[in-house]
Symmetry: C2
């Protein structure tokens, strides 16, 4: 049984002690910093406060549709101070995993990507060859020639060694069938993240986990997940930032991704904010998926420890 | 432990006894009668033989893309004698379930259909109103206005009470998101069948079960399945043909759909033919999903009992 989380809101001394305990804060974005395009009040000031105290701030997101540069633009537009180096997305995590962990030989190292431009940008940043993605040749109906060419292999690229699946708003039967055929013929099956839903406009839509699942279901094999709560992502974050896990705290709004990510990564702490998906009742239940060490009504409550 | 299936090939007397035991034969089509567009040798003659002996022959298929009339055309083209009344498809099964079992009130009885024309034809044959299907308005990219309209409900049809998902070669994010939002708002979630794959060109592609799974995953709810091995389909077949289950035999090539369908339906017998998906080793294993009562190398071996 996990201990009861410590409630920080209104407890200035407790908040100061909390901040002093860590030198790095990993932030989930949606539901913590903003909802869609609406930044929560006091968030820019809170990030500035932590930076002024010499804390390292890293934005760790499962959103695979955006590259790190896309994210920096969004953060800046919302008035949140940051550098490209402060951002760590699931597409970047996947690119690092493919390039530095898998290390496939030339001639077998091409990626068939299901996803938007964020995946393409990050694969390119690591010098990984790829097909698919936003290429209009894959954004069309499947034809009888496609069925035949996949069945006999003639339209399959023999250099494809990885199928990487992220969130794709242009998903279609052709891409799913190609992903399925490549995996069936031995390609390594990866997903940027497994989130079943995507929060948007105060509602939910299908997330990356609901885009890759047709391939997983047809082939009978689950992909390796590179986003939260996968520890492949934590290892990549640690490798890049050389962080001391005991002095690192994960801040998020989802128990099954953010808080689980921090706990399984054996971080010094986890802080849950109530401005997103999960509420207090979600960890109070017997079968709670994860219980945070701290919680607060909102991120800007940390300003009370200034 | 199920008994060992009786092997019929080469056993003329055994085959005659087998045929005499039943008055109705339910046939799976793909893998039993044909592969794609290639009819197996001796199949038309075998169906003729059974008919000449006064047997009722019913073609029971999970293929949701074709209507019963489409199937009759295909059977006739391949030289297999049949009437529209002899065909029972999963789209028809779904239409019967919606119209005669669900009996939704007017104003809440519209179906949002994900699938091809077979679903549309069968819904229309039962007089069920529907949207979606092959309508070009749903075969396009999702737009920002769609996201907003789904989130606030303004583009959702308030009369939709059912989401019916079949095999759709034109699947896209827009249709999946609409299906998800309708189910989330209380629509009954149905699927024509749950086959994860679809045999074609001696290879496999994604089946209807891999088209509905993004919605199931995002909403956290499994649809009611109307195709084999669901007993909803067996009940509909029995209701229509007034068959005596004890004198009915299911013939198929898949243990997890056809043979399971016959066994759970408490039919008098099941015959597995080795011209399709599953082979002998699949029921010889300890954890076999189903074990047939009879098996033969191919359907036309039944001619040996003429």
């Amino acid at each position: 049984m996990a201990a009861t989380p410590k409630y920080l809101t209104g407890d200035g001394a407790g908040i100061k002690e909390f901040i002093d305990k860590f030198d790095t804060f990993l932030f989930d974005c949606d539901g913590v910093l903003w909802n869609g395009d609406h930044v929560y009040e006091g968030v820019p000031e809170t990030i500035s406060l932590l930076k002024s105290k010499g804390k390292r701030v890293v934005f760790v997101t499962n959103n695979s549709t955006k590259s790190r540069q896309d994210y920096v633009k969004k953060l800046e537009k919302l008035g949140i101070p940051c550098d490209a180096e402060d951002v760590f997305g699931s597409s970047y995590s996947a690119a690092i995993y493919i390039n530095r962990i898998l290390k496939l030989p030339p001639g077998k190292n091409k990626v068939f990507a299901i996803g938007e431009s964020g995946i393409e940008t990050e694969l390119a940043s690591e010098g990984i060859p790829f097909i698919g993605g936003t290429d209009p040749n894959f954004r069309r109906d499947i034809t009888p020639a496609d069925f035949e060419g996949m069945a006999n292999g003639s339209i399959l690229d023999p250099e494809v060694g990885v199928v990487l699946c992220g969130l794709d708003f242009h998903i279609n039967y052709l891409k799913l069938a190609l992903g399925f055929h490549y995996v069936q013929r031995g390609a390594i099956f990866l997903a940027t993240n497994a989130d079943s839903t995507l929060p948007m406009h105060h509602a939910f839509f299908l997330g990356a986990g609901s885009i890759m699942i047709p391939v997983a279901n047809a082939v009978g094999e689950q992909p390796t997940i590179l986003g939260k709560p996968s520890q492949a992502m934590m290892d990549a974050v640690e490798g890049k930032f050389q962080l001391d896990r005991a002095k690192t705290c994960m801040i998020g709004d989802r128990l099954n991704t953010d808080i689980k990510f921090g706990i399984e990564g054996k971080l010094g702490g986890t802080l849950h904010v109530l401005t997103g998906v999960n509420q207090k009742a979600d960890w109070d239940r017997e079968d709670a998926i994860a219980v945070p060490a701290y919680y607060a009504d909102k991120l800007s409550d940390l300003l009370q420890g200034a």
